[in-house]
Symmetry: C2
Subunit: 300 residues, 2 copies
């Protein structure tokens, strides 16, 4: 064991330990995906068609977003109004900033809002922990007092009794200006790089992309400040934005989310923190919240 | 203060605290970039032209990689041999897996290796902490006993006296098969999503992309397993791969890295953990290693 230089001794922190009330079983030699494949039907919950927002881009590319009304009810209801009114028919992707966000919306601040949209929603950046059923991550979170999962959402937990959705890869948030503007939901962005969790509690997160993420990431980066596309550059168009509930049941895209309360999710989480198939030489014994993506699958 | 449900009480962990030996000064109301702009010339170190690998893609797109010989000396020396021999003249990008990696190399396992290349390098996945001068991150790391920066590299520190480079966004690693193959360095990948740090200590990291990252991320995702491009799909070509030291000084691209021992880096790190310009309503009081990108700038 080498001697630690002083700077290093200061840098070392106690190693986070998994929360466990019973002795841990031996590590499984299995991939996370193989565990997910074993989950029985009861381990999955269907996504409500009113919480499933679909964006069609050019060339038939489809992006599916699950909305989070339990965290940002007013913003989500606004988004439903925008979708039902067809308000986004001339929307486009305005900004792609590498390792940060892709943002889309209507580039016209004077366009009248559809009926029912709340022009100045409350700052739905956190919610109370009351009534939230959380399954713990089991490892320390550098940004919050704790972290875990609630009904399929990665959440951060704060010592003041609040919880927030988190800016993990694929999270969808509401573009906003400065105080007191929280944004209406007319302009949205998604995280396309390492989780910028400094944005947590500073922006309303309204959902996450559960399918078609590559259509938001494999895009030319904008060359202007903040990744905005330069004047004259052709911007990717949003051809259609709608809720699954707006189309006939037979035509509806549908998805299921693995319940974090299931045995399979518990095994999946543990193997994400201790990868143990033939490729791996060393297990980490830990994992961060955004590296435990909650599994989603399409339903045919 | 609401009552915490039982599941939540189990999930809560002690809040990580910054390491501080003197009372912290008041938070600056400034952006991280503005701090970096204030750094004097002495706060920057130049990158050795033998450690600067350049990749030119079609259309004059250039990607710059700083190599890390202090962590993976044999693999880095191999890479220099490949570059000097022009071995990668027919290399292409073979795989782009969303939220994971872009990988490139020569798709011919029988192509003879250039002189000097070590065919089976040692597993340079960790190094000893001995002789490594680390500046601590100051916040807990879910994957390791500690985390910090060493000569511009984000490193994880383990209780067995070792350190590893980390799979942060832009990290460059060596593609490999199973035991005892560590890969020669002929096939490389870079991280294009949320840090897959379960790979730390399982693969040789040889460097990181310091410029042109968008040319590796704004690419169509492959549709085959692991994001490999399907048969018949045109793959992006690597037109030229070379070390800065292989070209005349007047023609050399050059970059500088902000020293983590500088006052400006300490301020930058603190503001990354406590964003405090006009946009932010709440400071996190913490940050994860890969969300503190070490600043790099081109030198004209």
């Amino acid at each position: 064991m080498p001697l630690f230089p002083l700077a290093l001794a200061l840098a070392l922190q106690p190693q986070p330990q998994p929360v466990a009330t019973t002795p841990a079983p031996p590590l499984e030699k299995i991939t996370p995906n193989a565990i997910v494949d074993q989950a029985p039907p009861a381990a999955w919950r269907a996504i409500d068609p009113d919480n499933l927002l679909l964006i069609e881009l050019e060339g038939g590319k489809r992006v599916a977003i699950e909305l989070a009304p339990d965290f940002a009810p007013v913003h989500v209801e606004n988004i439903r109004h925008f979708a039902r009114a067809g308000w986004w028919y001339d929307a486009e992707i305005v900004r792609v900033q590498d390792n940060y966000v892709t943002q889309w919306g209507v580039d016209d601040p004077d366009k009248p809002l559809p009926a029912g949209v709340v022009a100045t929603p409350p700052a739905e950046y956190v919610r109370s922990l009351d009534g939230l059923k959380v399954t713990g991550l089991g490892y320390a979170d550098p940004y919050a007092a704790g972290a875990g999962f609630a009904d399929g959402w990665p959440v951060a937990l704060y010592s003041d009794g609040t919880a927030s959705l988190t800016h993990c890869y694929g999270a969808v948030g509401v573009g906003r200006g400065y105080d007191p503007d929280t944004g209406t939901g007319s302009e949205l962005y998604t995280v396309i790089g390492h989780a910028p969790r400094h944005l947590d509690r500073n922006i309303a997160i309204v959902g996450r992309i559960i399918d078609g993420m590559e259509h938001m990431t494999a895009l030319p980066r904008g060359t202007e400040a903040l990744g905005f596309y330069a004047e004259g550059v052709e911007k990717p168009q949003l051809e259609r934005v709608y809720l699954a509930s707006m189309v006939e049941p037979a035509e509806r895209p549908a998805y299921e989310v693995l319940r974090e309360t299931s045995d399979e999710f518990a095994r999946y989480k543990r193997v994400r923190a201790n990868r143990n198939d033939d490729f791996y030489k060393v297990q980490q014994g830990g994992v961060d919240l955004c590296n435990v993506q909650v599994p989603v699958r399409p339903v045919e």
